[in-house]
Amino acid sequence: MALPASRSTAAPSPPTAAEAPERPRLARARVAVPAGLRPPARRWTRALGAYAYVAPAGLLLLAFQVYPLFYGGYVSLFRWGLTRQAFLGIANYAQVLRDPEFWRSLLVTVYYVVGVVPAEIVLGFLVAVLLSQRVRGRAAYRLVYFLPYVTSMVALGLVWSWVFNANFGLANAVLRLLHLPPQRWLLEPRGVLALLRGGLSFWAGGPSLALVCVIVVTVWYYTGFHAVVYLAALAAIPMEIHEAARLDGARGWRLMRSITIPLVSPTTFFLAVIATIGAFQSFSIVYTLTGGGAAGGNAAEAGGPLGTTRVVTLFIFNTFYGEFRVGYAMAAALLLFVILLALTLLQLCLGSRRVHYLGGAG
């Protein structure tokens, strides 16, 4: 995860020594004393300082990120309800791998990720390209695009659940205007392909209409974020490169395909990685749209009509929080983690071959 950000060029420039607070006392003492010449006591306090500064954050990370991972591994080996019960070994894992619900939630997650990530990236890029032209009122547009990202996701989930309300919603009002049959949107468990062609099973019907609605809302929410990252990347492309390409006769689409897209490819790659990781972790947006009260179910049954929006996070949440099968939920979580890790490594491998860096070998 370090790679993308360290590549970023738009770092806020730190003040140089010249801009530092007026402290003539400091300015005089410029000579650095080599470490060996310092009195030993000084060196000890320095070493102590170094560890003392990193200790609080380090210990907290250890306690609430690293230790839980191993503790979770331990928990996954037991039948674990409210407390620890029988030791099961890898039986939890075996059971998860045989659980059709788990596989189904994985399929739902794959639909979700595949629906969300490319759309966010393409839309974000388009918006950024359009905004990087000198459109009048650019700042206002940027604010508007960015607004969903800074408003509360739960609040927006509530708004969208009205838009897709089967009886009074905005979406059906639009369909009525176009003389099309109204839909049940977030309550519709049938796959979109099944709706278009009629009568297909769950596996062949594609993602349910409810899931597609959730995808649309997610894309809507994150487009502004992607656009802002792309705007920074576009601003970092030197003018001369575009000028040179134009002199060579490149225009419009050609310019875009041969110059702009390759030059922002590190950003695209970075966004693809974080969007994938983020999409795999989506919870609140799916929950507010199709869990809880929105779909008329209860908290333990979150996951939309017939579970067709039950992404793997919701599956784990349900087994853990709704059914209190803690060891089982943990086994599923770790299996997901392995999948996610493999996927990220794959992305890193593929990405590093395709990405073009300015000034480096492509």
């Binding site: 400091l26 609430f64 359009l130 009074f168 905005l170 983690f337």
Partner: protein, 277 residues
């Protein structure tokens, strides 16, 4: 990309697209505000009346008093402020240690910190809940705050920023006898405001909107935060859309104000790293 020369059809197409998509982005939010000012019988009227006349301001106090929202907002402020202050403080110190010292195991430590970014919420949710439960922190502020205050993203951000600060400044302060604490708080902190501001805004946004963790560990109504309160309010008053939208509007105000005033720092932060989500 100079636009001056291309006053042609393509340019206007672009403008139309920008404006059109902007409308798509804005419409649900406008609808939310508009609905929050309507009497209930007009909420579902079609075609949609975007400007309610007369605006029914009474929806706001009514919704506000229906549920302990004052309490939820107070909780959200307490939690967000504590997490933000602590995270910036801890990340700043850790970043300083990783950037401006040389010691044994430093690089390994940095890589270990970074790799915690890979841990998804699904994996941490269950064991952290069990740990917090065994500490007796369910339904407490510390349960909401402590597990999330140390954050690899913040440490990374501060380290990268401090790396670009000249070593000579730190060295000079030390020679002047400022001491380890003095050097950090009197020299380094005042010079790292841009990074501190960016990190603070990010942390605030993240914490204010946090859903899963507060949802899991808080069952006591007096400790609920705004997103959880909102979700519960909507579950119980699913039919009174105007009140739900009034509260939703109020809930987004702190974030929007924050964004408004710190737009530059916010966008720079995203462009800088965009590491979150």
């Amino acid at each position: 990309m100079p636009a001056g020369r291309r006053q042609d059809a393509l340019y206007w197409c672009g403008v139309l697209l920008v404006a059109g998509w902007g409308l798509v982005q804005l419409a649900p939010i406008l609808w939310m505000i508009s609905t929050s000012l309507k009497p209930l019988r007009e909420v579902f009227a079609l075609p949609i009346q975007w400007v309610p006349r007369p605006p029914q301001w009474a929806n706001y106090p009514e919704a506000w008093n229906h549920f302990p929202f004052a309490r939820y907002f107070a909780n959200s402020f307490i939690v967000s402020a504590s997490v933000t202050v602590l995270n910036v403080l801890l990340a700043g110190m850790a970043g300083y240690s990783l950037a401006k010292y040389r010691y044994f195991g430093q690089r390994a430590l940095f890589i270990a910190v970074l790799s915690t970014l890979m841990l998804p919420i699904e994996v941490l949710m269950v064991p952290t809940f069990l740990i917090v439960k065994s500490l007796g922190w369910l339904n407490t502020y510390q349960g909401l705050v402590i597990p999330v205050v140390a954050d690899a993203f913040g440490i990374f951000l501060m380290r990268q920023y401090l790396l670009s600060l000249p070593d000579s400044l730190v060295e000079a302060a030390r020679i002047d006898g400022a001491g380890e604490l003095g050097t950090y708080f009197r020299i380094v902190v005042p010079l790292s405001w841009p990074a501190v501001l960016t990190l603070a805004i990010f942390t605030w946004r993240e914490t204010w909107d946090a859903f899963v963790w507060p949802f899991i560990i808080i069952t006591d109504d007096s400790l609920r935060t705004v997103p959880i309160g909102l979700q519960r309010f909507q579950e119980q008053y699913v039919t009174t859309y105007n009140s739900v939208m009034a509260i939703s509007t109020v809930a987004m105000i702190p974030m929007v104000l924050l964004f408004f005033f710190f737009q530059r720092a916010f966008i720079r932060g995203i462009a800088l790293s965009g590491l979150k989500e």
